[in-house]
């Protein structure tokens, strides 16, 4: 479940990029994406590239359709694991989409490129219909005081415990939240946001409250969890996972006795990339990009 590849990196002794170089690689990747020229980048010959959970040939998918890069841009990196991640609003044929990616290098070459392209469908509020208004949360870039930092393994354990709290959510918390914690999903703030509460009462609640109430009872399995990027200085963990909704639950009761109906009447799964900011061992901020996929779609990354 948890992959720490610092060992092989040090053993191989190949070319390694530092934090600034990795962030620059994200810039280069986006420039190549806009140009539709994946081979402007240096790829490992066995590289695996996925878009929305499907392995694709380089040049396929959004490589062929992105025609502009919009201002919203959040990037982060981990020199030890040789990974860089980002969120960027793009346009494909004029239509906005949230593009998120994790790139992992071996000997200075891109060996893994895992991308999620959250495209708006119909009248859904996701991704945010006003992507030009999106701004990165500055908290993600803040370097933590030594007292607020946690070791790599602990940061991964906290992110993993968030997923465990969400899985079969019944009000039991395996983590602590910072009272200021907010979560943004596909560009929409889905906590403390009464303006969007027509899409779910929990969207108006603080992060911790929805979990204490067991709002997410319909989330069955948080599977194929992986953690390929950790920034101890900034308290960041970038995770990948699938959420399965079996639709076994229709009506259910919150921990306060209120009856709710599940938002998922039919089986489906979400494939996602999710960034956690963890300050002093508590989750401070969450940023996620996800797409709906057929129920229990296999992860192409598992077992790799």
């Amino acid at each position: 479940m948890t992959r720490l590849n610092s060992e092989w990196n040090s053993v191989r002794g190949g070319k390694r990029l530092d934090h600034a170089q990795l962030l620059a690689l994200a810039d280069g990747y986006l420039a190549a994406l806009l140009a539709g020229k994946p081979y402007d980048l240096a790829w490992d010959r066995r590289a695996l590239f996925t878009e929305n959970g499907v392995p694709l040939a380089l040049g396929d998918g959004a490589w062929a359709t992105v025609d502009s890069l919009e201002p919203y841009y959040l990037r982060f990196a981990d020199a030890e694991m040789q990974s860089v991640g980002f969120f960027r609003v793009v346009r494909e044929r004029g239509n906005p989409a949230l593009y998120s990616a994790r790139l992992t290098l071996e000997d200075g070459l891109i060996a893994e490129a895992e991308t999620i392209v959250a495209r708006r469908r119909g009248e859904e509020p996701f991704p945010n219909p006003d992507p030009l208004l999106l701004r990165p949360e500055p908290v993600f870039d803040e370097v933590l005081d030594a007292a607020d930092r946690r070791p790599r393994l602990r940061l991964i354990a906290i992110a993993d415990a968030y997923f465990s709290t969400l899985e079969l959510n019944d009000g039991q918390l395996f983590i602590e939240f910072d009272p200021r914690c907010n979560r943004r999903e596909n560009g929409n703030q889905t906590t403390n946001n009464p303006a969007l509460s027509q899409f779910g009462a929990e969207i108006g609640m603080p992060c911790v409250e929805a979990f204490r109430l067991g709002v997410f009872r319909f989330d069955d399995e948080l599977r194929d969890r992986r953690y390929h990027l950790v920034d101890e200085q900034r308290g960041l963990v970038f995770a990948s996972a699938f959420i399965d909704h079996s639709a076994r639950v229709d009506r259910y009761h919150l921990t306060d006795g209120t009856e709710r109906r599940s938002m998922f009447k039919t089986p489906n799964s979400l494939c996602m990339l999710e960034l956690f900011k963890i300050v002093g061992g508590r989750i401070r901020q969450i940023e996620a990009a996800f797409v709906e996929v057929p129920y229990r779609t296999r992860s192409p990354w598992s077992g790799r």
């Binding site: 878009e51 499907v54 380089l58 998918g61 062929a64 079996s246 639709a247 009447k265 089986p267």
Partner: protein, 307 residues
């Protein structure tokens, strides 16, 4: 698969279908006579027995279009299922071996996520699909496959060339909605044309690849062929120039794929009717029912890198 000595009677195949649907209605997958290592898929993903609609289903409608292939041991069904009030057309294919269900493939077009702007779960029978053909109107199996495959080839990068044979009366119903000879406003003017006329215009140029094509079931008596496939839309075209010179904006301008089961009625060597159920899946998702041609990653990166 077509050895007559291994033929299974139509009644036997329909009895297996009946028992399967009865079990599904009760959400009791243990009532299905599964073969060991049975393969089960829903919307292009292999599941364990009892997952997917077996959990969420709250009812099955009466609509029942059924057909079978006695030499291949295959039986098919189009129906409508209910999940807590959401009604969805679905297609089901079962492969039966020695009285046991060895394969169960289902495609469900669910209104919230099937990915089409049209969906109708109030299905009525189409007499053309129910008609038993006189021997002179039957088409041999190889020719039926050629015609259905030719339909997919006509659709793939559609440029106006017809690679199959249509009966002038041919209508296509997709996810419960007629998408030919239907002047309904939400389909646009293209929906008002006949099946062949749409293809002659090259309207479907945006259909890049008809991938993972399979033809597992042929009902010779009724002239029905059930095909499985994936349609990929790479989003390559900002606009499309039709064969009559008009320029239109393509439906799909971003990467997208459909997983589908499609039934063709073939009478006297012509496609007379089409009934399909399809559902959005991630772009180029591999088909679990195909070999290499079903894979989403079928190009050699190293070869491309060396260009």
């Amino acid at each position: 698969m077509t050895n007559p000595s291994h033929q299974i009677a139509r009644e036997e195949l329909f009895a297996v279908l009946d028992s399967y649907l009865a079990a599904l209605r009760e959400r009791d997958c243990n009532a299905v006579p599964w073969a060991q290592d049975a393969k089960i898929s829903e919307n292009g993903v292999m599941l364990r027995a009892g997952q997917g609609a077996w959990v969420s289903l709250t009812g099955l409608d009466k609509f029942d279009l059924r057909f079978c292939d006695t030499s291949a041991g295959e039986v098919g069904h189009f129906g409508v299922l209910d999940e807590s009030g959401d009604r969805s057309p679905f297609a089901l294919r079962l492969r039966v071996a020695e009285g046991l269900v060895a394969e169960a493939e289902m495609v469900v077009a669910r209104p919230l996520d099937c990915g089409t702007p049209f969906l109708n779960a109030d299905l009525v029978d189409r007499p053309v699909l129910l008609e038993t053909l006189a021997p002179r109107d039957r088409t041999d199996r190889a020719e039926m496959i050629r015609l259905a495959d030719g339909y997919f080839s006509t659709l793939e990068r559609n440029d106006g060339t017809i690679k199959t044979v249509f009966d002038p009366s041919c209508d296509r119903r997709e996810n419960g909605t007629y998408t030919t000879n239907n002047e309904s406003e939400h389909l646009g003017w293209i929906g008002g044309l006949s099946c062949e006329a749409q293809f002659r215009l090259g309207w479907f140029l945006f259909d890049d690849e008809l991938r993972a094509r399979r033809y597992p079931l042929i009902d010779e008596e009724r002239g029905l062929l059930l095909a499985g496939a994936m349609i990929d839309h790479a989003g390559l075209h900002k606009s499309v120039t039709l064969t009559d010179g008009r320029t239109v904006i393509p439906v799909f301008r971003r990467p997208h794929s459909f997983n589908l089961l499609e039934l063709f009625k073939i009478k006297a060597g012509r496609i007379e009717a089409i009934e399909a159920v399809f559902h959005t899946v991630p772009y180029r998702m591999p088909s679990p029912w195909s070999g290499a041609d079903g894979a989403g990653h079928d190009r050699d990166l190293a070869q491309e890198a060396s260009r």
